[in-house]
């Protein structure tokens, strides 16, 4: 009864093409934002921030980035971990070289650097496609991780080979380093996540997004109707890497505080983010958030139930998690290739007609 478009009259083209056409959806969006900004920072505990909310926001950014490349651009990449490492190491180098400039600016700059690296490794996509490209992006993954391990300049010649986030403040609040409060971590990530989601939404429904989707659906046909594959593919790689770089920068500087290239940014990270995109829904902004939420919460949930409640050993829980994630990937690809986002869309369709089936 509530979820209706009746009475919600659109009088301009602008109104008609907005992201949330239904009033209830719009209200839900604003309420979510208000709760996220106005309530959660005051009630958040360290456990919730570190186990659930901060990783969720960071992975949501990474998933958004990969979704732009895979879901909208149709270029499969397995190099996400490597690009996140670029973001992290760029932030580290920038913030230790120029400590007087705000960390937030460094994070944005790190995104820019990652975009440049992403374009470089994206160049082969002009010649090769499909899983050839997917495997080719593995070159980026392994080469970058190796580079950050082997060239001491990147980790400032530290003895452990690790990078550690220096303490930085913003408006008098500590936002990086061990002394950061849970709400500060959360708020920084939230601002980036909301801002980038807004950018992604508007990019994907504008000219750039249409070009990406045209290339994805059929590249040769797109070229014939005047989409330049060079700019379309490279811009997809650039934007995607920008997002992923920022996710890597946040992961290192805000969330973990310390990182080691092969451990933090290994190939498993690449797969994790790809799984988020598949489970959440290819080519959907909401799906990126849903997929990230799902894969961040699932291990916490399994750990709490299997280890906490049943008292099973942790390695068993980890193996069961592998099985569940693997089975879910196959399940979603078979039954619902558009992921959780499509399930949500179907629910909304049903709600609009409820209680009548037609």
């Amino acid at each position: 009864m509530l979820y209706r478009e009746a009475g919600d009259f659109k009088t301009s083209y602008r109104d008609d093409s907005q992201t949330f056409p239904l009033k209830l959806d719009r209200m839900g969006y604003w309420v979510t934002l208000a709760v996220a900004f106005g309530v959660i920072p005051f009630v958040i505990t360290d456990y919730w921030a570190n186990a659930v909310l901060v990783p969720f926001l960071i992975y949501a950014i990474a998933a958004l980035g990969l979704n732009i490349l895979v879901g909208y651009g149709g270029q499969v990449s397995l190099g996400t971990g490597g690009f996140m490492a670029v973001g992290a190491y760029a932030t580290y180098k920038l913030s230790t070289s120029f400590p007087e400039i705000s960390l937030l600016i460094h994070i944005l700059l790190a995104g820019g650097i990652t975009a440049a690296v992403g374009v470089f490794f994206g160049l082969p996509s002009l010649r090769i496609k499909g899983f050839y490209l997917a495997v080719a992006t593995l070159a980026a993954q392994f080469f970058l991780v190796w580079l950050f391990n082997k060239v001491p300049w990147f980790y400032n010649y530290s003895a452990s080979g690790q990078i550690t986030a220096p303490e930085r403040t913003f408006l008098g609040y500590v936002i990086s380093g061990p002394a950061t409060s849970a709400s500060a971590k959360y708020l920084v990530c939230l601002v980036f996540a909301v801002g980038l989601a807004w950018v992604a939404r508007n990019l994907t429904r504008g000219t750039a997004g249409r070009k990406w989707m045209a290339i994805r659906d059929m590249d040769i046909a797109a070229e014939i109707i005047g989409v330049n594959p060079l700019t379309a593919k490279m811009s997809a790689f650039a934007v995607s890497s920008f997002f992923i770089g920022i996710a890597g920068a946040l992961l290192f500087s805000i969330y973990l505080g310390a990182a080691e290239a092969s451990e933090t940014f290994g190939i498993t990270k690449s797969f994790l983010v790809l799984f988020m995109v598949i489970i959440g829904g290819l080519g959907s902004i909401f799906g990126s958030f849903a997929g990230a939420a799902f894969l961040v919460v699932l291990p916490v949930f399994l750990k709490n139930v299997l280890v906490g409640a049943f008292g099973w050993p942790t390695d068993l829980a980890a193996h069961i998690e592998l099985m569940i994630v693997g089975a879910l990937i196959v399940f979603f690809l078979i039954v619902e290739p558009h992921g959780l986002a499509q399930l949500w869309r179907l629910t909304k369709e049903k709600l609009r007609l409820w209680p009548f089936p037609h």
């Binding site: 010649r127 899983f131 070159a139 799984f275 099985m323 690809l333």
Partner: protein, 338 residues
């Protein structure tokens, strides 16, 4: 071995050392080819790029060790659920029987994969199939660990190991410098050669082999002349499972049965890209090129850039190669029309 540091002998010694690196690279390449073969088989017959091939090898090796040592499957899980302390049946199975039983398990797995996964994905885009096999790889990895335990296991089916004295003596007699060659590598080369010969003979001279090639060419046309697509798929996945078993035995004997075994799949990918996805000779030649290339690169360039170049050399080589020749060395030319 003990050559005197003579001025004119130094270059000679370097050359000999380089050729030893080369030979060892060739041996490593044979191992890569073995895994790559499994990929090519499945890709040729079903158009599925099977990322799970490496995990299949791990799974096969785990199962083999488990059967050999008479472990109880899922003992860990049962113990956790019921509080018992089960570990093994208390018997051991002879290697040959264990290998046969494992091959049967792999066939069963092929049937399961076909009915649960592949049947539902007919006609999907290749990239969707690829991602499905990544999911499959994760599932099998978790399953293998739960079934047989995740600890590192030693695998011994009676293959000879260690430095080959004969090879050292021969090369010493020929060149005055004894090559350091693992006997297991020699055996792997022989077995791989036999396997390839058998596979080629199978696909060229048997009815099922012809059907397999027909399916590879065109699913629809093959169906219309009465070839059962599902049977062919099960057959191909079983053969791939058997190849994975052989690869698992080799790698497992060499470096123990552990998680890293599944990562050899990642090594086989650039091999395939180099050789072309559809070509059995391509898989072999690609494997040899990558094996030799990465050993030589590590030997000559590695010390200059900090070493451990083996982690990425194969990919970068394949990437650069693909930019100039997207179909690989022996791959079919991709022609696209709107």
């Amino acid at each position: 071995m003990q050559t005197q540091p003579r001025p004119e002998g130094l270059l000679m010694e370097q050359l000999l050392y380089a050729s030893e690196v080369l030979v060892n690279g060739l041996m490593a390449g044979v191992m890569y080819s073995l895994v790559a073969l499994g990929f090519v088989l499945i890709f040729k017959a079903s158009g599925v790029f099977n990322y799970a091939q490496g995990v299949l090898a791990l799974f096969a090796a785990l199962t083999l060790v488990g059967i050999q040592q008479g472990q109880i499957p899922f003992a860990h899980l049962i113990n956790a659920m019921t509080g018992t302390h089960l570990s093994s049946f208390g018997w051991t199975v002879p290697s040959l029987l264990a290998i046969l039983l494992t091959a049967l398990v792999m066939v069963g797995l092929a049937i399961l994969i076909e009915t649960l996964v592949l049947k539902h994905l007919v006609g999907q885009e290749p990239i969707i199939m690829f991602m499905a096999t990544i999911g499959l790889a994760y599932f099998l990895e978790g399953l293998g660990d739960i079934m047989w335990g995740a600890d590192v296991k030693t695998l011994d089916v009676g293959l000879p190991q260690g430095i080959s004295d004969t090879a050292e003596a021969w090369t010493a007699a020929l060149t005055g410098y004894g090559f350091f060659i693992d006997r297991l590598d020699i055996w792997a080369t022989v077995i791989a050669a036999l396997l390839v010969a058998a596979l080629v003979a199978f696909s060229q001279y048997t009815k099922q082999g012809r059907a397999m090639r027909a399916v590879a060419d065109d699913h629809q046309a093959a169906l219309s002349v009465g070839i059962s697509l599902r049977f062919i798929w099960v057959m191909v996945w079983s053969i791939a499972g058997f190849v994975a078993l052989v690869a698992g035995i080799m790698w497992g004997t060499k470096s123990g049965v552990q998680f890293s075994l599944s990562l050899i799949a990642l090594k086989a990918l650039p091999v395939l890209m180099l050789g072309g996805f559809t070509s059995i000779p391509g898989a072999i030649v690609g494997g040899l090129i990558i094996g030799v290339g990465e050993k030589l690169f590590e030997f000559y360039i590695g010390p200059l850039v900090g070493g451990a170049t083996e982690s990425w050399f194969a990919y970068v080589l394949a990437l650069i190669f693909l930019v100039f020749r997207p179909q690989g060395l022996f791959g079919e030319r991709i022609i696209e029309r709107v």
